[in-house]
Symmetry: none
Subunit: 162 residues, 2 copies
DNA sequence: TAATACTTGAGTAAAATACTCGGAATTAGC
DNA sequence: GCTAATTCCGAGTATTTTACTCAAGTATTA
């Protein structure tokens, strides 16, 4: 299991999804604005998330993405795994260049270690994160900002007409 | 805290060092042969390890590297941290360009998460790995129990935070 | 039918990774 | 002192990953 910024992006996006799950499908454009992640990059990430059945898409106007399961059933580990997908965990895959079998022992040690970290992240669900005070605070501010942005855009559009 | 193959290389090398610590200094050439890691890459990694005072070098013929402390005092986390050194964990460093100057949604989350994983890896020392390596064929069950114990402790810590 | 929004694929710049090379500096042993 | 073994050091490079852009689709609904 690898832990990079890619997984963080994915978790952030999924968390945004969970936070706005009561408002119908959430468009990637909204997530992009709120979280500052490029739309096209989100598209790639959500292609993976969709493939792993963590989200489902709703097409057409007013469409977007929804969580496939409830936030309580989606763990951070699942999200990270979906976008990481490094099956080539180590070089000691199968035979590889394991000299004298000694390296293979290290290989197993790392496998176990990864399993433990994986287990650790599996204990944390999106629902856990949504319940956190700090996240709710930040989320509320982000929502305000998005609304203001929309208002501004509308205002600009109106003034152009008039 | 990031988890990539780079850290695995470092841990593997340090484990090799610990396993042969009773035979005087271990040359990087030996580690390179045994573990199948390029010599020059090992040199780079050990420059970091040396800088972080995890190993000390002995120059000249018959020289090599020694553990600075005993294997029981060196944790996996220390090794991984030494070679990773990406203090700039995310865009959310301090205030930085988190997201338009504001703390981003998962800022606190990742901080806590990193701390927990770090704590988890801090529980595992090189001595643990060496011991586990020795008795692997004899009693893998006991090793599993040891790792599980660590996991349970971590789990408790996590639930306290969330 | 037109607008919305997902979907797909190709391409790309920047960074990290993993490694190579060429040489230094240091030191044990002859 | 000479030589070989070894750590050190800096520069360079190929590969992969990351993060992103662009462009052309397709599906859905108002």
């Amino acid at each position: 299991m690898r832990l990079t910024t890619k997984g963080r992006y994915a978790v952030t996006a999924m968390l945004d999804l969970a936070l706005h799950s009561d408002q119908g499908p959430v468009s990637l454009a909204d997530i992009s604005q709120r979280q500052g992640i490029s739309l096209s990059y989100l598209e790639q990430l959500f292609a993976r998330l969709r493939h792993f059945k963590l989200v489902k898409s709703v097409r057409g106007p007013g469409g977007g993405y929804r969580l496939m399961s409830s936030a309580a059933e989606v763990s951070v580990a699942q999200v990270v795994d979906a976008v990481s997908e490094s099956l080539d965990a180590t070089r000691c895959e199968g035979k590889g260049n394991c000299h004298e079998g000694e390296v293979c022992l290290t290989h197993h040690l790392w496998e176990d270690l990864s399993a433990q970290i994986h287990r650790f992240l599996s204990e944390i669900t999106l629902a856990d994160l949504v319940a956190r005070n700090d996240i709710q605070t930040v989320s509320r501010r982000q929502d305000m900002r998005l609304v203001n942005t929309h208002c501004d855009e509308t205002h600009i559009a109106v003034s152009e007409i008039l």
